[in-house]
């Protein structure tokens, strides 16, 4: 209770006459309409389309086909390849980005001077327009004049320049490298922020008790960072699985489907082959995965909020 509670202004008396629901829900409504119409409605729409044979050529004549699209996904060797690629992307891309990012964040916090300038520079790959980042890597991985070929020749791994982007055996890897380059800085920054948030007094106390650096890391740093690391981990998974631009710019998912991931396949099915129904069924798989990830994201999020409040 403060003095101000007694000083009810005429404005407030006027406001009192406005029903509670109006006061609360009217300001929220515009955001809800925007998000509802442009994000939630399309999701619902995709669910419906995934049970039809809709194409962009006859959107109005679409017929209900039940689970046919899903059966096709199940049966198609191409899609199996795509799903495997997506799995490799998420598994390799995320884990390498996390390791590099963690070490980088730790170095920035612990070992390097000018932390704030250095972390701004490290962040550039993440904020650069995606197409720009992907273009640089496409150029660097080029088969005829690419600098990466030159590096590999100099280091003695290969004898002469090889085609990487156009070769189905290798084509999945260049975009993953590019994506690691883009995501590792992000994880580094999350690590740095979490490390900065740990109070030095914990370490002082641990040193007094004779804890070795490794014990300090294992028993203080890691437990203190666990929720932040979990959020970072989930973000890596989410960004990797929804990534479109890195692959599309560098290889367009080709040759064949050798470097296609799920988002690339959805785009190709819908906007190259016009198979809206089939593409929607593929989107459902992406939804399912993202739904699981976001569920855990929200759960961890609540934990963080609870812990720090």
């Amino acid at each position: 209770m403060s003095y101000a509670d007694n000083a009810q202004s005429s404005y407030e008396r006027a406001l009192d006459r406005v029903p509670e629901t109006v006061q609360v829900y009217i300001p929220i409504l515009p955001v809800m309409v925007l998000v509802g119409l442009f994000i939630l409605y399309p999701i619902a729409q995709a669910i419906l389309s995934s049970f039809t044979d809709k194409t962009f050529l006859n959107p109005s004549e679409a017929e209900f086909v039940g689970l046919a699209n899903y059966q096709e996904i199940w049966a198609s060797a191409e899609i199996h390849q795509v799903l495997w690629n997506t799995f490799v992307w998420v598994a390799v891309g995320s884990s390498v980005a996390i390791v590099i990012g963690f070490v980088l964040g730790w170095l920035l916090h612990e070992k390097l001077p000018y932390t704030s300038v250095a972390s701004a520079i490290v962040l550039i790959p993440w904020v650069l327009p995606r197409v720009v980042g992907a273009s640089i890597w496409k150029f660097m991985f080029g088969g005829s004049q690419g600098i990466i070929n030159e590096f590999l020749v100099q280091l003695g791994f290969i004898d002469e320049y090889i085609v990487m982007l156009g070769n189905p055996e290798y084509s999945i890897w260049p975009p993953i490298v590019g994506m690691i380059w883009r995501l590792a800085p992000l994880f580094a920054l999350l690590t740095l922020t979490s490390l900065q948030g740990i109070d030095d007094r914990y370490y002082e106390a641990a040193r007094m008790d004779g804890a070795t650096p490794w014990e300090q890391f294992r028993l203080i740093t890691l437990p203190m960072m666990r929720y932040n690391l979990a959020i970072g981990f989930l973000l890596m998974l989410i960004y990797n699985i929804r990534n479109f631009s890195m692959v599309w710019v560098m290889t367009r998912g080709g040759p064949g489907v050798s470097s296609s991931t799920l988002p690339i396949m959805i785009y190709r099915q819908a906007f190259v082959d016009f198979q809206v129904g089939f593409a929607s069924a593929l989107s459902m798989m992406l939804f399912a995965v993202l739904l699981v990830f976001s569920y855990y994201y929200i759960k961890v999020y609540d934990k963080v909020q609870g812990e720090f409040k």
């Binding site: 994000i39 999701i43 729409q45 904020v127 327009p129 720009v132 030095d200």
Partner: protein
């Protein structure tokens, strides 16, 4: 953290102490740390360096094998091509030639400045839309209790995960139904919807910390809630508001999927425009690099401003430092 306040060089000494460690194990550790740092810096920075160097090379030098690490003859031909072709596409050739006495000729036909202009238009509009709607909503969400508040916040958080590739097909249909295909309005609305939840989370974090005593003081001075919001809260929230705007702006600036599927021709924004350039036959990489640098400038300016807010912004405040 407490030591920093007493002794300004404490942090620096703490950071650097490893450098003066001269035990045998110390040297091993020093070498390992030095090597790791060098490798990481190479991985992160080399592509950026390569973009800058490439933009300063002549077209012949780019095709050279092995590639040169520094431009042998420094040339601004990439930037020239980009700017001249924009002048040509924009129809200003006559004006520029007569005013500046330059000869405008370009071998490419992509209006990069036009793309930048389109992107600025879309990104600023989307940023403002998200900022205004998001801030109003977040204020109420932070200050009032109501049914479904937690569900609403979770829904908004979840909706941050989905946009982009997962909904490009139905979004295309929706935009067609609304008769907004190939308009900037469509992108503004979608980007607004993609970033508004994020603004809500970020600003809610700010309002949650906002002291009640200031609100009480403004009530004493007979401000209406709307006046309090406009004249007391908004000025104090300036930094958070700017950060939110920049986040929304950057998302719109970088987004490829919707720009690629919903726009065509001279409506194109930077990402799809650059894409046609990169995927064309016989890509002139010095021109691509020059264009890339030009379109990255707003991003770098934005980064300098929001660096402090970056982590909060990215995770809606989920990571606390």
């Amino acid at each position: 953290m407490t030591t920093d306040a007493d002794d300004p060089t404490a942090e620096f000494r703490k950071n650097q102490s490893w450098l003066y460690d001269s035990t045998a194990g110390g040297y091993v550790r020093k070498t390992a740390i030095g090597l790791t740092t060098a490798l990481m810096s190479l991985f992160i920075l080399f592509p950026l360096y390569w973009m800058v160097v490439t933009s300063l090379k002549t077209t012949q030098e780019i095709q050279q094998i092995p590639p040169t690490l520094l431009p042998v003859d420094l040339s601004f031909v990439g930037f020239e091509e980009v700017i001249y072709s924009s002048i040509q596409q924009g129809g200003y050739t006559g004006f520029v030639e007569s005013t500046f006495g330059l000869e405008v000729a370009s071998s490419i036909d992509i209006d990069v400045l036009g793309l930048i202009f389109n992107s600025l238009k879309v990104s600023i509009a989307a940023g403002l839309l998200a900022l205004v709607l998001g801030t109003i909503a977040s204020y109420v969400i932070s200050r009032r209790e109501f049914v479904g508040k937690n569900a609403l916040m979770s829904l908004l958080l979840a909706s941050l995960m989905f946009p982009g590739t997962a909904i490009m097909v139905p979004e295309w249909e929706l935009i067609n139904t609304l008769d907004l295909f190939n308009t900037h309005t469509a992108l503004v609305l979608i980007y607004g919807a993609m970033t508004a939840p994020f603004v809500v989370w970020l600003m809610k974090g700010f309002f949650d910390e906002f002291p009640d005593s200031i609100l009480d003081a403004s009530r004493m001075d007979q401000c209406s809630p709307v006046e309090t919001f406009l004249y007391v809260i908004v000025p104090m929230a300036r930094n958070s508001l700017i950060a939110s705007f920049i986040f929304a702006f950057l998302l719109a600036w970088n987004e490829l999927v919707f720009a690629l599927t919903l726009l065509s021709g001279d409506k194109a924004t930077v990402p799809p425009g650059l894409l046609t350039f990169v995927q064309g036959f016989n890509t002139q990489w010095n021109v691509v690099a020059a264009a890339s640098i030009l379109v990255s400038i707003p991003v770098l300016i934005g980064l300098a401003y929001i660096q402090k807010y970056f982590v909060q912004g990215l995770t809606g405040g989920a990571i606390k430092g």
